[in-house]
Symmetry: C2
Subunit: 204 residues, 2 copies
């Protein structure tokens, strides 16, 4: 097995969602694992003095159109959610907690939870900024409600997200999705094809 | 001939340069003309509260790397210029003036000037924010120095750029490159492949 692809994403990022639907096929093709890295861009936007693209005049309207056009082209189910953007802290903590329970490597449960949370928000229109929704979604992939409810209040779990965001900033991650493989950074779902070609030929 | 592809760009935008190297092949494939639309993003950034990506912490460094990687992949000569970004008002005015001299449709001289100005800045490292350099480059494509020197001081030529920027804003253009074809907007050199597929199948 080659070194993995780190896939940084924010649940509140539609491009992160589009990327998450594609990254496993690319990774599999190149015999790589996907290391899922949930982050919360709000904290990182303080460093980059950014805000969600959807809130920027002109860019916001274009981006809504672009997302729908790109999702249709890729055959990915997608509905612009409301509310948007959302606070994705609870969803990210749930995933990091789930992943921390894995005995080794990539946690299948955490991966299932990621896909279920994305689907809940971008397909089913559920507001996953709410702990109750996150717990419902987690339950649907076999996670005990009470155990997760307690974990979400645990300072150790809160620290997991704080550390994850610090690690992301240390690696100069500033967007979603953001992929790092063999130390090479790729920002945006529109760089997935380039990442694929990069792994095909070993870089250029 | 089908309706043309409007290609909005700022000479100070490296992604505009990369796009300009590719758009004619895509247009030709689909029997479309390219209508070159030089703009100056500085004025538009006031509306979108944006600034050059290169000046944004983390994003700036990544973007420099991304531009070099993308140029290498595409086989396009590119050197990150200094100074950067630049005031591209004079270069844009020269192109708009040259184009206004065309007897009909797309001006071959204006197209030659666009490519020569891009090459001067991104390949030869000449500072095309300076009127003297713009005039030198224009001379290299057959434009009389004195005629252009006078034109650049002409209020009618200044108005051409003002109108071009207003037209761009009216069409919700906010970046470079920005393409519009059959009323469909595409932002970024990384949407050229999507534009190509869009024209292949007539949209989706």
């Amino acid at each position: 097995m080659q070194s993995p692809i780190e896939f940084y994403f924010d649940f509140s990022s539609p491009f992160g969602y589009l990327g998450a639907q594609q990254i496993e096929a690319i990774a599999g093709k190149h015999n790589r694992e996907v290391i899922w890295k949930p982050i919360v861009l709000g904290f990182i936007f303080k460093t980059t003095q950014s805000k969600p693209i959807i809130e920027i005049p002109l860019k916001g309207e274009y981006t809504k159109h672009d997302l729908e056009r790109s999702a249709r082209e890729l055959g990915i189910e997608y509905t612009m959610p409301t509310p948007f953007p959302i606070n994705s802290i609870t969803a990210a903590r749930a995933v990091l907690w789930s992943n921390s329970n894995a005995t080794s490597g990539v946690s299948e449960q955490a991966t299932a939870l990621i896909h279920a949370l994305f689907k809940a928000y971008y397909v089913q229109g559920k507001d996953i900024s709410q702990a109750e929704e996150v717990i419902n979604v987690a339950h649907s992939v076999g996670i005990d409600r009470d155990t997760l409810t307690n974990a979400l209040q645990d300072d150790k779990v809160k620290a997991l997200l704080k550390n994850a965001i610090e690690e992301a900033l240390d690696k100069n991650v500033f967007g979603s999705p953001f992929m790092i493989v063999d130390s090479e950074p790729f920002w945006g779902s529109d760089r997935l094809n380039q990442l694929d070609r990069w792994l095909d030929v070993g870089g250029w």
